[in-house]
Structure formats: structure tokens, C-alpha cells
């Protein structure tokens, strides 16, 4: 499959098998195959990867803010092997469910320490 990384992949929404929003394609990772030909190995998602691409003071501020929520630094991005991508249209659709991927540390921290403590956090209001 032929795909333009910067036009069709970068910054695009990642959606899991069930339509849940997983993150954005904040960066990509290439690797060399056994034959020496480079290939697209994985999609990276998370504030660490995004901050590096944004660059400058703004990018650093982004990373520092996100790092406040995690214990193991530096912040590792979510790595999604490109083989898990089902199709690419206005979003990047994955073959797997979000539960099978490592959850975002910031999301987990806020869920545990803030949102779950408010009554009614478990019910969708529609």
C-alpha cells in the first residue's frame, strides 16, 4: 500500500475497533528490513512524541505538563505497530480494541484521582 506519511498519517485521529478514540498519530517510526529497505514500523502517540515534534518552548511545556502525571520519566509514547492498522481514511482505524493497548498515563491519573471520585462518573449521559 502506498501512503504519504505527512499528508495522510501524521496528526490523524486513531480510532480503535469499537470506534473509541485512542489518540492522534503524533509521530511515526521507521526501521530497516532485513533487505536494507526502510519501512514504516510503528505509529507513536502521546504528549512526549507530540512535544518533540512541536518543538521549542511550547513543545517543552507540553511535555513537562504531561510528565507531572507520571512516575517513570521520560514519558514513553504509545507505540502501535503499523500492522495493527486496518484502514486509513479521515481517521486511522485499528484492528485492536483500546483495552489491548497500554492506556494513557495522564488519562489514568485523572480518572483515578479526580473523575472517579465524583458521583455518577460511571454513567454515560448520552
Amino acid at each position: 500500500m502506498r501512503i504519504q506519511v505527512s499528508q495522510e498519517l501524521l496528526d490523524r485521529q486513531l480510532v480503535d475497533r469499537d470506534g473509541r478514540l485512542v489518540g492522534k498519530v503524533d509521530d511515526v517510526e521507521f526501521a530497516f528490513g532485513a533487505d536494507g529497505v526502510p519501512y514504516l514500523r510503528s505509529l507513536l502517540s502521546g504528549p512526549g512524541a507530540l512535544g518533540q515534534r512541536v518543538g521549542g518552548r511550547l513543545g517543552r511545556m507540553l511535555v513537562l505538563t504531561a510528565e507531572r502525571f507520571v512516575t517513570d520519566r521520560p514519558l514513553a509514547p504509545l507505540r502501535i505497530p503499523y500492522a495493527l492498522v486496518e484502514r486509513v481514511d479521515s481517521a486511522v482505524w485499528l484492528r485492536v480494541s483500546a483495552d489491548e493497548l497500554p492506556a494513557s498515563p495522564v488519562e489514568q491519573w485523572l480518572r483515578r484521582n479526580l473523575i472517579d471520585r465524583i458521583p455518577g462518573a460511571g454513567r454515560a449521559s448520552g
Binding site: L10, G23, S90, A91, V106, L114, I115, D116, A124, G126
Partner: protein, 408 residues
């Protein structure tokens, strides 16, 4: 019958999304100081919001993604982040102004000082966002907001000189207040009509309600009927102020004065209806601005967002929502006058307008997303002309604000 009902509900949400504290203040001031001389600005604003909301709705229906979800792909991660920070700040300041409007409406109804109502308004807005179902939320406040029609009715009740009203609408003059002040009010009124949160909200709402290409006609219909109805309500606000406040040389620095013409026509009952209408439109707008702020952040970073999933599944989205409402309340607790805050908010919004509208025009022309549903030639011409006007408003806003000392 079901289709008719659905159409009505769509229109209701468009009306609810249109009139807010910015319109109450800007329309009241325009009418009181310049009569009907700003009618053309309001009409232009309605055309602009219709054109761009249609594009945003079409993008949402065809791609299943909200406009600001796509903006990052076209502006790049860095530019889009700067855009996000600016849009977020403007939206939260708007949220603060709307919360102030809710508090002022409650003061109008009860006589209890507005500052006491500020925390109540903040908690109530957050509770509704936390618990209430999305369509119900839109419709209740849209419907209650229609009570603003009392201003149009008052116009017939009062001894209105329709010929003079019509004349001042087609031949604008500066009423001896200076053209600087005239243009300052024009920019504020324009910004209140095309508030960025209206399109954030409209396109995200479309995604949330799972529009598809089949819903395009309905979405277009509610835009083209709902926003003009909102415009008509805003026009009746200008007209009542023009008839009652303008000849007396009164200016508008509180919501009491905006309500004054209705009180004059219908007494205490008029006051009650006006207070209800003010409450409904500002509360509805507070909900929409709060959601829009959180939408913008979530859609930039790709977080799970929306009210279809439980808050614990969208913890970052709900945290931003909570923090935004809290920031709005804190801003008001500095005891800044809500009407003054609204005036500044409108000028800041005017400056930030191109950040919202340029990306919409870009995405609406992108065939990789929209296929053959991209803008037609006529709409692009209209969109480009409107964008030039938006740019002009954005450039002159701050010089006008400084030069006229906020329209003095």
C-alpha cells in the same frame, strides 16, 4: 411528522446557539446609541455564520470528524497548538461572560446581588454538563430562549414609529456619537454574531449525534432557518433599544436596561419573561462554550470526548470541562463587571475570528476529506468575501478599542 419534529428540534438548537450574552450587550448598546444603524452588520453576521456553519456541518456529516479534529492535519501540529491555546482562552473568557449573564439574569429575577449567584451558576452549569442528555440539553434551552420573542412583541405594543425605524436602518448615521464609536460597536456586534464557539459546537454536536451524509439536508435546513431566527431575535433587541432607549439618550451598561423596553410595555410580567429569556440564552451558551473549550482541547490531542461515553472513559475531556467552568467562576469572582467583561470578550473574539474561520474554509475545499462534496464556486466566493470582512474586523478591533477607549 417525525421529520418535521426533527427539523424543529434542529432549528431550536441553532436558535439556542445563536443568541448569548454577547448579543444581549452588543445589540442593546447598538440600538441605544445608534438606533437601527447597525442592522446591516447583524445581517452580514447572519450570512457569515450560516455559510460557515453549513461548511462545518457538512464536514462533520461527510467525514464523521469535527472541524477541529481535522484542522491539526492541515495547519500542522505546532500552528494548530498555538491556535488551540488562543481559541481556548477566548472560549473560556466567553464562558465567564455567559456565567456572568446567568448571574445577572438571576439578579434581575430575584433582586439578590449577582456575585452570590456566580458560584450557583457555575455549579448548575457543571452539573448539567455532567448529567443531562445532550439533545435534551440543546432543546430545553433553545425552546426557553425563544421567549426572547417578547422583545419583538413589545415593539408592536409600544407606539413604534415604523417608518422612522426603517429609515434609520437603511441610512446609518453616527447619531452624534462619532464614527469611531460606531465602528467599534459594529465590530463588537459582528463578533457576537459569529462567535467561534458556535461552529465548534455545531460541528462537534453533529459528530456526537452521528450525522451521516444522509443528514446533510436536515443539517443545512436547521442552519438556514435557525440562525436567521436567532438573527431576528437579536434584531428585535436592537429595535426595542432603538425605540425606547435611543430617544431618551440612555446607554446600556447592565441587563436591566436591555430589559427596560419590555418592562415599559408589559410591566412586571414583561420583566419576568425577559429575565427567563436572558437566563435561558446565557445558560445555554454557558453550556455550549464550556463544551466547546473541552472539545477543542480533546480534538487537538485525540482524546476520547463527548457525552455518549461515561465521564470515567473521557477523564481528560471532563477534567478540561471542570477546569474551564472553574476558571470562568474565578474570573467573575474578581468582581469584574460582567457587562464590561462581555465588551472585552467581544473584542478579543473579533481578533481571534480568523483562527476559526480560515481553517474551516480550507478543510471545506479539501477533496481528500470531502470528495465531491467540497464547496461549490459560489459558496467559495461568498466564503472568501466573508473571510476578508472577518480579517478586516480582526485587524481593526484592537486599534478601534484603544482609539475610542472601548467605544466611549
Amino acid at each position: 411528522m417525525r421529520k418535521l419534529l426533527a427539523a424543529t428540534l434542529g432549528i431550536l438548537s441553532a436558535v439556542g446557539g445563536f443568541v448569548d450574552i454577547g448579543d444581549l450587550v452588543a445589540a442593546g448598546q447598538a440600538g441605544a446609541r445608534f438606533g437601527m444603524a447597525h442592522t446591516w452588520v447583524l445581517l452580514l453576521g447572519v450570512v457569515a455564520i450560516c455559510a460557515y456553519a453549513e461548511m462545518a456541518g457538512r464536514i462533520a456529516a461527510v467525514t464523521g470528524r469535527a472541524v477541529f479534529d481535522l484542522v491539526r492535519e492541515r495547519l500542522g501540529a505546532r500552528m494548530a497548538l498555538i491556535n488551540l491555546v488562543a481559541s481556548y482562552l477566548v472560549t473560556v473568557i466567553t464562558l465567564a461572560a455567559e456565567l456572568g449573564g446567568v448571574a445577572l439574569a438571576l439578579r434581575l429575577a430575584t433582586g439578590v446581588p449577582y456575585l452570590l449567584w456566580v458560584p450557583v451558576a457555575g455549579i448548575a452549569v457543571w452539573l448539567v454538563l455532567w448529567r443531562m442528555r445532550f439533545p435534551v440539553m440543546e432543546r430545553v434551552f433553545g425552546l426557553a430562549g425563544l421567549t426572547l420573542v417578547v422583545f419583538a412583541i413589545a415593539l408592536f405594543w409600544l407606539p413604534t414609529d415604523w417608518a422612522a425605524l426603517g429609515r434609520s436602518a437603511v441610512a446609518p448615521d453616527d447619531s452624534g456619537q462619532g464614527w469611531g464609536a460606531y465602528w467599534f460597536v459594529a465590530v463588537a456586534l459582528f463578533a457576537s454574531t459569529v462567535s467561534p464557539y458556535e461552529v465548534f459546537f455545531f460541528s462537534s454536536g453533529g459528530v456526537e449525534e452521528r450525522w451521516s451524509a444522509d443528514d446533510l439536508a436536515d443539517a443545512r435546513f436547521s442552519v438556514l432557518v435557525g440562525f436567521p431566527i436567532g438573527g431576528f431575535l437579536a434584531l428585535s433587541l436592537i429595535a426595542t433599544a432603538a425605540v425606547v432607549l435611543h430617544p431618551a439618550g440612555l446607554s446600556v451598561d447592565s441587563l436591566d436596561q436591555v430589559a427596560h423596553p419590555v418592562v415599559l410595555a408589559f410591566g412586571a410580567a414583561g420583566l419576568a419573561v425577559a429575565a427567563l429569556a436572558f437566563f435561558a440564552v446565557t445558560f445555554g451558551a454557558a453550556l455550549e462554550t464550556g463544551l466547546s473549550a473541552a472539545y477543542a482541547a480533546a480534538q487537538y490531542f485525540g482524546w476520547q470526548w463527548g457525552k455518549r461515553v461515561s465521564p470515567r472513559e473521557a477523564a481528560r475531556f471532563h477534567t478540561v470541562l471542570l477546569v474551564s467552568v472553574l476558571l470562568g467562576v474565578l474570573m467573575l469572582l474578581t468582581t469584574v463587571d460582567p457587562v464590561t467583561l462581555t465588551e472585552y470578550m467581544l473584542i478579543i473574539s473579533a481578533v481571534a475570528l480568523p483562527l476559526t474561520y480560515l481553517p474551516i474554509l480550507v478543510v471545506a475545499n479539501d477533496r481528500t476529506y470531502l470528495g465531491d462534496r467540497v464547496n461549490g464556486r459560489a459558496l467559495n466566493l461568498l466564503g472568501a468575501v466573508l473571510l476578508l470582512i472577518i480579517l478586516a474586523a480582526s485587524i481593526v478591533a484592537v486599534p478601534l478599542a484603544i482609539g475610542t477607549r472601548m467605544g466611549q
